[in-house]
C-alpha cells in the first residue's frame, strides 16, 4: 500500500550551529533510488521525524536546484525541535515531503526582486533567494534585506558574507538597536526602517518577505507607504500542522489549508483571510 504518513529515512551529513538556538542540518536520503527521484520547488515544506519523539514541520531551506542534498533550519522551541537539536552528523531522521505550494520564481522573470527577512524567517527566503541566484540572468536587480535581534541571532553567517561580496546583488544587513557588537559593520535599526531607507521602487518589483509577525506587520506598512500593491508582496504563513497533506484539519484558515493552498501566499490573498493566523 502507499502509506502517505510514512517518512523516508535521511541521514544528517552536516550540521551547522547557526545561533545559540538555531541549527541547520544538511540531509541525504538513505535510499539512493529515492534520492535520485526526489525534487522539490522552492517554498515547499517537509515533515521531519525525530525517531522516538515525533514529527515537526518546517520549510526546506536549500536551493531547489541543489540536487545532492536538502537543508533545513529550525529553532529550538518545542518538544520535537528540542530533540532534533540534540542530533548531529551521522544521525538519522525521517522526512515526508515536499508538501504545499511554492514561490513562482519563473513567473518573476524580468522583474526586480526584493527579499525582506527577519530572524529565522530567512530560512524559506534563503531557499527562494538561492534558487533565484541559480538563474540570476532571469531577473533584474536583486536586493536582500535581512535583520535579526542581535548579531548572534543572524543565521547563515558564512553565506551572508559570501552574498555581500557579490556585485550582482545588493545586500543590506541590520540588527535591532542594542543588538550590535563592536565588530558589527552592518546597519543598526529595525527591518522596516532599514527597508524604508533602502527605498525600493514598486515598478516591476516583487517583494518576498518572511519573519516574525510583528516584523511582517510593519514591513507591510512600510511597503504601503512606498506604494507597493498587495499582489506584489509574497510571504509564507505558519500554522500548527500535523499531517501536512490536507487531512488533519489543523492549519485551516478560512476555506484554505495552509499545508495545501499555502504556505506561500500573496498579501492580496492573505488580506481576505479571517484574522486567525
Amino acid at each position: 500500500m502507499t502509506n502517505i504518513y510514512k517518512p523516508f529515512v535521511m541521514e544528517i551529513i552536516k550540521s551547522f550551529q547557526e545561533t545559540p538556538d538555531v541549527k541547520t542540518f544538511r540531509l541525504k536520503f538513505k535510499n539512493d533510488e529515492i534520492a535520485k527521484n526526489f525534487s522539490f520547488k522552492t517554498g515547499q515544506f517537509g515533515e521531519y521525524t525525530v525517531f522516538g519523539v515525533g514529527e515537526t514541520t518546517f520549510c526546506i531551506s536549500s536551493s531547489a536546484f541543489q540536487k545532492d542534498y536538502i537543508e533545513c533550519s529550525f529553532k529550538k522551541v518545542g518538544e520535537v525541535t528540542t530533540a532534533l537539536e540534540r542530533l548531529d552528523k551521522g544521525d538519522e531522521i525521517g522526512f515526508r515531503g515536499p508538501y504545499g505550494n511554492w514561490f513562482e520564481i519563473d513567473e518573476w522573470a524580468g522583474k526586480n526582486l526584493v527579499f525582506v527577512a527577519g530572524g529565522i524567517g530567512l530560512a524559506p527566503i534563503r531557499s527562494c533567494f538561492l534558487s533565484c541566484l541559480a538563474q540570476r540572468e532571469k531577473y533584474k536587480d536583486i536586493t536582500m534585506i535581512y535583520g535579526a535581534r542581535s548579531v548572534s541571532d543572524l543565521v547563515y553567517k558564512t553565506q551572508l558574507n559570501e552574498w555581500e561580496k557579490r556585485d550582482d546583488i545588493k545586500t543590506i544587513y541590520t540588527v535591532d538597536p542594542g543588538g550590535e557588537n563592536s565588530s558589527w559593520k552592518g546597519k543598526i535599526g529595525f527591518v522596516p526602517t532599514i527597508l524604508e531607507k533602502a527605498d525600493p521602487k514598486p515598478d516591476n518589483t516583487v517583494v518576498i518577505t518572511c519573519g516574525p509577525p510583528i516584523m511582517i506587520k510593519f514591513v507591510l506598512k512600510s511597503l504601503k507607504k512606498m506604494n507597493f500593491e498587495d499582489e506584489q508582496i509574497i510571504t509564507t504563513l505558519e500554522m500548527k500542522m500535523k499531517c501536512g497533506i490536507g487531512k488533519c484539519g489543523r492549519c485551516n484558515i478560512g476555506p484554505y489549508y495552509v499545508c495545501k493552498h499555502g504556505p506561500v501566499f500573496s498579501m492580496a490573498q492573505i488580506k481576505d483571510f479571517p484574522l486567525e493566523y
Binding site: G94, M239, K240, C243, C248, Y277
Partner: protein, 353 residues
Amino acid sequence: MTELFKLSPFELNAWMDLLIAAGYPVFAPVFEEGTDKDNLYFKKIKKWNDADIGKLKTKRGPKELFFPINEDLFSYKYNGDGFTLEDPEIEYEPFIVAGLRPCDTAGLDVIDKLFSWDYKDEFYLKKREKAILIAFTCPYTDSSCFCTSVLGKYPYKDGSDIMLTQLKSKDYIVEILTEKGKKLLSHLNKVINPASKEDLKELKKELDNIDKSIKKIKIDKVKSWLENNFEDDYWKNCALECLSCGICTFVCPTCHCFDIIEDRNLDKITRRRTWDSCSFTDFTRMKVHQPRQEHFRRWRQRLMHKYYYYVNNFEVIACTGCGRCIESCPVGINIMTMLSEIDDKGKKLKAKA
C-alpha cells in the same frame, strides 16, 4: 440501478446469518456491554439476532469503522545500524455494515472527499472500497433529527448499497442500489419476491411519513452569512456555555480532524493517529502563538468549517443533520437553533440589501 424486493423479517434474519456464514464480517448496532443500555455502537456480530436495529441512532455512527479512534500508521525500531520502518499489517477484506441510517452513509460520503483529495489516504479508502453498506430507513425520528434540511428529501440514498424499509406489515422492502449490493442478494438461496405495486405504494407512504416527521429548518442563507460575518458580535455570545469538551466533534459523523502521536514501547515505537477536536484549546496551539485562544473562536471555526469552508472545498456541507451533537452536548448547545438564527440573520441581510 434500483431493484426492489420484499423480504419477511424471518428471511432477512436468514439472509444476514447466511452472509455471516459465508465469511463476511458483519458490523451492526449492538449494545455495548457495561454501559448504559441506550448506547449502541457498531460492533462485529456473530448472528443477526445480536443486532438492534429498532433503536434510531448509534452513539457515534459508523465513521470509526473506517477511520478508527486510534489507528496505527506505521511502526519503527532501531536495528543497531539505523531505523527501519514498517507498515501496519492490515488485510483489507470485504465486510458488511448493516443497520446504518441514511444520515450515517451521508456522513461517510462527506469525509470520502477529504480522504481522497490530493494525497489518497489508503487507510481510510481501502476500507471504504471493501465495505458494503446496508442501510435501514429510520423506524422513527426524534427531536434532534434535521437530516432533510441538509440532505434533501428523505431518504438519502447515494451512500448505500442496499436500503431496507420496514412496512406496517413488518415485511421489508429491499432496494438494491449498487452492483456490490446485488452480489449480496445471491447469498439468499431462494427465489425472492419482487416488490408489488401495492408494496411500492406502501413504501412511498412509509418514507413520506418519516420525511414529514423530521423537523425542517431553513439553512440556505447560512453560507452567505458566514462568508461575510467572521467578525460579527454573534460569535462572542453564541456558545458562552461551551465547555470545550469536544463531545460534539467526537460523535459527529463528518468531523475528521486528527492528531498524530508516538506510542513508545521498548521493542518498537508506533506512530498513530487519534481523533482530535477543534474545540480543544491545544488544537492550534503553537509554541509561541495560539490563534484560537478564546473558545468562541473555536466554536466559530466549527460552524464555519462545516457550513462554509467545507462547502467551498468539496461542494458538500460537512453535516448530515443527524443531531448527535445536540443529544450529546452536556450544556445543551443546539446547532439547529444556531443554524436557524444564522439563517435569519442571512435573510435580514438580504432584505436590507
